[in-house]
């Protein structure tokens, strides 16, 4: 299978403290990968490094064979990486539809965007995402007035309209009710195959529901990688979680 994202000995040094320390992992095209690890393992920092929020001090990131290490955020995004943040990050004063309209444009330049209206192809993609996320009834609502779950789905929907080939999800179910969590799982399952998805998550029930291959990080390094069943049985993983009550 073709590799979508290759993380090669990635490292970041915050004045002596290595939050990510020689992390290596290959994520295949169309794969759904869950990243686990105790608090402070470096999961969110890893996402920061891949998406360009933090500059790495060593190692490489390749996206479909292209070296994207330490590119500016917007160029990494254009190259095909979409990121969802832990706290919903949406345009609160714009309507839901406008949020999607901002996400859909494949043209980043100012002067090329000095035109009215949305092309038909873009309009179609927006409609597809509205179907997928079930945001139809709230299209005209100002995004800041949405419920927490709806905000998360909107942000997820924006990444899909953006046509990101690789989607990074940082705790997509944080603060969600059970019903909302299960709907989020459904959306993610439907994306599987057409998008490469990397999820950082703590909710083990959710992880068991969606996960195939799991990567466990500890102290900024790769600890274990494999199917969820064998990971849960891995003594090294149990050791890392010791004191936090293990995987539960």
């Amino acid at each position: 299978m073709k590799a979508a994202l290759t993380i090669d000995a990635l490292e970041v040094n915050f004045g002596g403290f290595k939050a990510v320390d020689g992390m290596t992992s290959v994520i295949d095209d169309g794969e759904l990968r869950v990243i686990l690890g105790p608090n402070g393992a470096g999961k969110t920092t890893l996402m920061d490094l891949v998406s360009g929020k933090t500059a790495s001090t060593g190692g490489k990131v390749h996206l479909f064979g292209r070296d994207i290490t330490n590119w500016p955020e917007h160029e990494i995004a254009r190259a095909g990486i979409g990121r969802k943040f832990q706290i919903p990050s949406i345009f609160r004063e714009l309507s839901v539809l406008q949020n999607l309209e901002v996400a859909v444009s494949q043209e980043p330049r100012v002067f090329r965007n000095l035109r009215l209206g949305i092309p038909t192809a873009d309009r179609k993609r927006i409609d597809e995402v509205i179907d997928l996320t079930g945001l139809e009834p709230v299209l005209e609502t100002v995004a800041g007035d949405l419920s927490h779950g709806q905000m998360q789905w909107l942000e997820l929907g924006m990444l899909i309209t953006q046509q990101s080939r690789v989607i990074l999800l940082d705790e997509p179910t944080a603060g969600m009710t059970q019903g909302e969590t299960s709907k989020t799982a459904d959306i993610i399952m439907r994306l599987k195959g057409s998008h490469t998805i990397i999820v950082v998550e703590h909710d083990m029930a959710f992880v068991r529901k969606i996960a195939e291959k799991v990567t466990v990080m500890h102290m900024g390094k790769l600890l274990a990688e494999g199917p969820i069943k064998s990971i849960e049985a891995d003594p090294a993983v149990r050791e890392a979680y010791l004191g936090t009550g293990g995987l539960h």
């Binding site: 998406s51 500016p72 955020e73 917007h74 160029e75 995004a77 254009r78 979409g82 990121r83 943040f85 990050s89 949406i90 345009f91 609160r92 004063e93 714009l94 406008q98 949020n99 309209e101 901002v102 996400a103 444009s105 043209e107 980043p108 330049r109 100012v110 002067f111 965007n113 000095l114 035109r115 009215l116 949305i118 005209e140 942000e155 924006m158 953006q162």
Partner: protein, 382 residues
């Protein structure tokens, strides 16, 4: 959807504004009064520029007077050189009167070298150069300032502080360069704008129309600009710059572009103001003036271009009326300050927001009545 009602209401306000502004000379033949209205329309234009940068881009520019003032000075230099009374020296190479007063004894009476730096005035002998520079220089300055600020990802209150400092710096430079700017006194006794042999006396209806048509064009152009995709993306950067970045937009380039457009409008307003008021002074660079623009936009509604324009015109009209009584003249600043605080706290969307809420209530009321009559027709017995 009530959205349609808003769109209709919005359009109605724009049409009403343009009809009133363009039709005013048909109703009023007092040229002094028209001249006064023209000045307020120029301030309305400043309101539009402020709404664009503050309301749509989230950039609180407390130094908008910089661009207005620079625009004003550029065209004032050209008009000064057209002024018969201030250039009357019987010399073949006349210079503006104040340069003579500031010159060293024995300096040649020529723009090239009467005072240090007076050569800067030479190209302004062509009126079109002054008009061109009134927009070009603010644009270049805004590009430099904007590129520096926004590439470094400076945002929020720091933008306000930097722009405030810059306008004060500019004020200092213009006052300090007295030999070529006439310092505190500014450029007065200007000639009239001359286009195709027609002299535009500030008290002429034609001059009013130059301003009125300009304001309408600027209003419609900015309106178009914010409805484009670029305008929508700009608003998204205001709400969450990071999200826009992770969607693949170079946020700084959008901020720089709209900051520059706002500066160009302010420069254009400065140009027009000189044509109707016949002077340019360093007071344009005063903090109070730049902050007034913020107040106009806040009162009118910073997220509405036309709201901010109407806010500017309204406040200036009231100010001019009350300042005729001595007591109010003293209290005016206090009143406007309190008004600003109250509006920011309790009416953040200003008059435009108030108008929208009223419209929403009317629509809801209309629906209620429809529902009532529908009910009544279903149960005629009751």
């Amino acid at each position: 959807m009530s959205n349609k009602a808003f769109l209709l209401g919005d359009r109605a306000v724009y049409i009403a504004f343009i009809v009133i502004v363009l039709g005013l000379p048909l109703l009023v033949d007092d040229v002094f009064w028209l001249n006064r209205v023209a000045r307020y329309l120029v301030f309305g234009m400043l309101g539009i520029a402020m709404a664009l940068s503050w309301g749509y881009a989230g950039i609180l520019n407390l130094g908008q007077g910089l661009f207005f003032g620079v625009g004003a000075y550029m065209v004032a230099m050209s008009l000064k050189l057209q002024s018969w009374t201030s250039m009357q020296q019987g010399s073949d190479t006349p210079v503006p009167d104040f340069m003579l007063w500031n010159a060293q004894p024995g300096a040649p009476t020529d723009l090239c070298c009467i005072v240090p730096g007076s050569w800067l005035w030479i190209p302004f002998q062509a009126q079109w150069f002054g008009i061109f520079m009134a927009i070009a220089l603010p644009v270049v300055l805004a590009l430099i300032i904007g590129a520096t600020i926004f590439r470094l990802r400076v945002s929020g209150v720091y933008v306000a502080i930097i722009t405030l400092a810059l306008v004060l710096l500019t004020r200092l430079i213009f006052i300090d360069a007295q030999p070529i700017t006439n310092g505190f006194n500014g450029l007065t006794d200007l000639g009239w704008l001359t286009v195709g042999g027609i002299e535009f006396d500030p008290l002429m209806v034609g001059t009013y129309y130059i301003v009125a048509v300009s304001v309408c064009i600027v209003l419609l152009l900015t309106r178009w600009l914010v409805s484009t995709r670029a305008g929508l993306i700009l608003q998204s950067t205001r709400d969450d710059a990071n999200r826009a970045r992770y969607l693949g937009y170079d946020v700084a380039s959008y901020q720089i572009f709209f900051f520059t457009v706002s500066a160009a409008i302010a420069g254009f307003a400065g140009l027009l103001f000189v044509i109707v008021s016949e002077f340019a002074t360093p007071t344009y660079f005063d903090i109070a003036f730049s902050i007034s623009m913020v107040v106009w936009a806040a009162v009118g509604g910073r997220s509405s271009l036309i709201g901010a324009a109407i806010g500017a015109i309204l406040i200036n009209t009231i100010e001019a009326t009350v300042s005729e009584s001595e007591m109010f003249q003293q209290a005016w600043r206090l009143i406007i300050g309190v008004l600003f605080v109250l509006i920011v706290l309790y009416m953040p969307r200003g008059l435009a927001g108030l108008a929208r809420d009223l419209l929403a209530r009317l629509v809801a009321l209309g629906r209620g009545k429809q529902a009532d009559s529908a009910k009544a027709s279903r149960n005629p017995a009751e």
